[in-house]
């Protein structure tokens, strides 16, 4: 029998550290059924027993206010009960953490509490025996980063064997929050001796981070820093990448050409389709890895909650009520979970506006396009260019929300749920590197998965279109790809890019934005690297490149995001109208952007 343990805890208490140190390499990542939120679990063996450890998302209580908390509640109240629950509590913030414990106990869960973050004091002054007596469950001090220490909590959970699964006499589900807090305070009084310390640094930094004027500026500065670092750090990895994969790829093509038993078209498929298309996208892995690493760093440090708090009042002015900021920031990673994250917005109208605005937030799949184009046209200023695009996307999202406000009737004044802002500010901390590495690896894995499925598929289709009909020169205007792209290219002529390659790339980009690059690489037949850059610089003028990047930023994000819009709004009509809207907005901004660029760089072409 596998012993099933769930890991719960408030956000930023060291839950991931605990999970990572205990599970090591045996982690399995999937999604929660019907959700895009990750579910991490691991099978571990300890003292001859098999244990399945599931890491639940961070939660402050079981009254679900966020999508994460809803998952925790669903997981805990599902039919397949966990044999035990280990709650990680933060030693410096016991009262707030133990509130969740009272919620778990009132549901009759078998809970073991692991006190983490003992800090330099080593948890002195916390009497875990007294805590255990007070709550009627085992408490243990652990250092979540150390495997042996973390395993202690698992052992305790194993020993408990459900002994604590009885309706706690202490806490009932009907108890008011006040009653619970008073009970917690009562127990803590006898179990914890320590002076009330105020983390001075946190407060001082917050004078900037939470200042209504300086805060948003600081946020912009930090984001800019992230883009800058992304380019700075990924450059050496990039060269290494070329070295590692360039030669073997060429060798593979050569071997395929020599192999008599393979069909004649195969080397071309391998070189122009698979290697060119896939390689073009994969070559941006270093940038994607660096950026996700830095964004995770920001999240784990506790800063992101501050950014959300300080940007909230800005967003509100644009009609994006209350909690929209968190899903919007999630949109920088991927629009799909961001759109699903709007479920936490109770008010229908605000939710709809948020859903429709999120696709303007630049997701990581759009990054390769910016990297390639700004590298070709604005060398040395890539970070500035990428930063401007991200800010433009954010600004368009806000403007779009503002103008959409009057479009959706009803919902005005729908009670106080409309614009509630209540955000917990976790203590600042230096992120634990191992967690960052695990998270980054995870985002790379999901990227690789897309590369192996959608992008590979699209590349092969693209190769076929560029080769057919039989006998035509590869990637020429006469090919199927050329004629399809050619139909649309007049539409894009005012934006400065009227080659069929560009039109086709844009059409393909609706499948997934990474495909934009692989489409160029396959239809040019160049693969990634210098050759692709040369073709791009030949075919685009700088102003057309600006227009192209803006268009890619703003038009239909991808089919998956449209699917998410459909399922969250429940309306095909809305989804359809939204798609047209995105294309129109993209077109207008690309046009304006192109001429603005021409105006500033001097000289409008005749």
């Amino acid at each position: 029998m596998t012993f099933r343990i769930a890991l719960v805890g408030n956000p930023n208490v060291g839950k991931s550290s605990f999970f990572n140190s205990v599970s090591g390499e045996s982690q399995k990542v999937a999604n929660w059924p019907g959700k895009t939120i990750e579910k991490r679990s691991a099978l571990i063996r300890l003292d001859g027993k098999e244990i399945e450890l599931t890491d639940l998302p961070g939660a402050y209580s079981l009254a679900p206010l966020s999508e994460d908390e809803r998952i925790v509640l669903d997981a805990i109240s599902s039919k397949e009960k966990f044999d035990a629950i280990i709650q990680i509590v933060n030693s410096s913030n016991l009262e707030r953490n133990l509130y969740l414990t009272t919620d778990l106990l009132s549901r009759g869960e078998n809970v073991v509490c692991a006190i983490n973050f003992l800090g330099p004091s080593g948890g002195q002054g916390i009497d875990e025996k007294a805590l255990g007596k007070g709550f009627g469950i085992p408490f243990v001090k652990v250092d979540a980063r150390k495997k042996e220490s973390a395993l202690q909590a698992i052992r305790l959970a194993l020993e408990s064997k459900g002994a604590f699964r009885k309706k706690s006499a202490l806490f009932k589900r009907s108890d008011s929050p006040k009653r619970r807090y008073l009970a917690i305070s009562g127990i803590l009084k006898g179990a914890v001796k320590r002076k009330a310390t105020t983390p001075k640094t946190s407060l001082d930094f917050d004078s900037f981070a939470l200042n209504p004027i300086l805060g948003p500026l600081l946020f912009l500065a930090i984001m800019f820093g992230i883009f800058h670092l992304t380019f700075l750090l990924s450059e050496p990895i990039n060269s290494l990448f070329d070295l590692l994969f360039g030669a073997p790829a060429e060798l593979a093509v050569e071997l395929a050409e020599r192999a008599q038993f393979l069909p004649k078209w195969f080397p071309s498929l391998l070189e122009n389709g698979i290697l060119a298309g896939l390689g073009a996208v994969i070559s941006f892995l270093p940038q994607i890895a660096t950026m996700s690493f830095l964004l995770y760093f920001l999240e784990d440090s506790g800063y992101l909650a501050r950014a959300a708090a300080v940007l909230d009042s800005l967003l509100r002015r644009f009609g994006l009520g209350g909690k929209a900021i968190i899903p919007m920031l999630l949109g920088f990673g991927c629009n799909v979970p961001a759109i699903m994250g709007t479920r936490i917005i109770r008010e229908e109208r605000a939710k709809k506006i948020a859903i429709l605005s999120i696709p303007f937030m630049s997701c990581s799949a759009r990054l390769p396009v910016y990297v390639l184009f700004s590298g070709v046209f604005f060398p040395g200023k890539e970070a500035v260019a990428v930063f401007c695009l991200y800010v433009l996307g954010f600004a368009v999202a806000l403007l779009s929300a503002y103008f959409m406000k009057p479009l959706f009737s009803g919902g005005e004044g729908a009670g106080e749920g409309r614009d509630i802002l209540l955000i917990e500010l976790p203590k600042y901390q230096f992120p634990y590197p191992k967690n960052l590495v695990v998270d980054t690896r995870e985002s790379l894995r999901s990227f690789a998965e897309r590369a192996g499925t959608i992008i590979l598929g699209a590349s092969v289709v693209m190769w076929f279109l560029a080769s057919a009909p039989y006998g035509v020169e590869y990637g020429s205007k006469e090919s199927l790809a050329g004629s399809i792209g050619g139909i649309f290219s007049p539409v894009f002529a005012p934006l400065g890019f009227d080659s069929w390659h560009a039109s086709l790339a844009i059409i393909n980009g609706m499948v997934a934005k990474e495909v934009v690059i692989s489409s160029f690489a396959t239809t040019y037949g160049t693969g990634e690297g210098a050759e692709l850059s040369r073709r791009i610089s030949d075919e685009f003028s700088p102003d057309a490149a600006v227009a192209f990047m803006i268009f890619v930023l703003l038009y239909i994000p991808c089919f998956a995001a449209l699917g998410a819009i459909r399922s969250e709004t429940g309306s095909w009509k809305t989804t359809f109208l939204a798609s047209i809207y995105y294309v129109a907005v993209a077109y207008i901004f690309a046009l304006v952007g192109r001429f603005a660029f021409l105006l500033f760089s001097g000289g409008i072409p005749a």
Binding site: L94, L203, N211, E416, D419, L422, E424
Partner: protein, 78 residues
């Protein structure tokens, strides 16, 4: 006799006790879960312009929107 003031009007560094929450059931419950209920002690860590009020309560820090802070009446302890 002290008169209750709105939390949104409190200046930084003040310690106070909640005397009244004039909010509906849902907001009251949520505030309660975060440790803000009648009789709870809190201190104002930051309150700037139109931004959120940052309070320290039960050892944690919390950003409360101005609109919600207006609904919380407090009395100063000192």
């Amino acid at each position: 006799m002290k008169t209750p003031q709105r939390l949104s009007d409190m200046s930084c560094g003040r310690e106070c006790v909640v005397v009244e929450i004039s909010a509906g059931r849902e907001l009251s419950f949520r505030l309660g879960e975060l440790g803000i209920f009648k009789g709870a002690k809190l201190s104002v860590a930051k309150s700037i312009g139109k931004g959120p009020v940052i309070v320290r309560v039960f050892g944690g820090e919390l950003a409360i929107g101005r609109g919600q802070a207006e609904k919380i009446l407090v009395e100063c302890l000192k």
